[in-house]
Amino acid sequence: MDSNPSSAETAQKSIYVSSAVTNAAKILVVGHFAVGKTTFIGSLSEITPLRTEEKMTQASVHVDDLRGVADKTTTTVALDFGRLTLSDDLVLYLFGTPGQQRFMQLWEDMARGALGALLLVDPARLEETFPVIDLIERYGLEYAIAVNCFDPAATYSEAEVREALDLLPDTPVVYCDARDQQSSARALIALVRHLLERAA
């Protein structure tokens, strides 16, 4: 997949947001490395998911005490995103964000104006989800859990996931197949319903 087409290729009309669109919403799709964020976004996006990068030159200064303040290493973080037109005047952007603590600048950027976050979880690696939950909570984002089950037989029950992740009783937990558009849409619906309840 070529995520950086030349400007000549991008001159097609189809890449643009419809001119009637006046509102853009953003939902974050977060989770640990290789949990299926890009697949999830790709299953819903109407455009070929794009990848860009954010340069981090100071992240380690704030968040990674072990490295010390003199560390000026530049880290490049990939950011994946897709777009979905939901009505005549509304588009939804899905941003996939890595969950590592040291990418906090990126998180700040991503969290601004986000409706909420869908946290993808690999049931085989539940413990890797804790740092991501910490970040979501630090930025005050509401979230729902979507267990991305490639192999339903190997998965945990909802109660087990809740207990392992120490979730609040009203945090939604859904199961999804990130490769499937309808399944991914259902997971987002669970999140948005939760957001509506919280906004009430």
Binding site: A11, N23, A24, L50, T75, T76, L196
Partner: protein
């Protein structure tokens, strides 16, 4: 987590970003959110001395509305660099901006309902 390849010290890529921005520090997300929509304002003339990146943004944005993140993605620019160049163009009056999120982190119920309805229509 540190995996090989994630760490990029001072690479040619980094130097390239520095040159494009003229060494200026990158604006914060307060300037332009990743999902703010931008397009070229009508009847504008490309600034004299515009670099290749600004020209590329100009051509891309002439076609319609795109989010800040999409501009970066299509042109292969780091988000921070794209935002800086777009902020410049916006301050010079060359860009129209739409759908800017509010500064406060308050969730708009009407938007949530629209998002919900839109998603529900996907699953039929």
């Amino acid at each position: 987590m540190t995996t090989p390849g994630e760490e990029a010290p001072v690479t040619s890529d980094f130097v390239r970003s520095y040159v494009i921005t003229g060494g200026r520090s990158l604006p914060s997300s307060d300037e332009l959110a990743l999902h703010t929509l931008v397009t070229l304002a009508p009847e504008r003339t490309l600034p004299l001395g515009a670099g290749p990146e600004v020209r590329a943004i100009w051509e891309l944005c002439a076609g319609g509305y795109l989010s800040v993140a999409e501009v970066a993605g299509h042109l292969g620019l780091p988000v921070g660099v794209a935002r800086l160049l777009l902020t410049d163009l916006s301050e010079q009056g060359h860009l129209l901006r739409r759908a800017e999120p509010p500064r406060a982190q308050n969730v708009d119920r009407a938007t949530l309902e629209k998002v919900l309805h839109g998603l529900q229509s996907l699953i039929g």
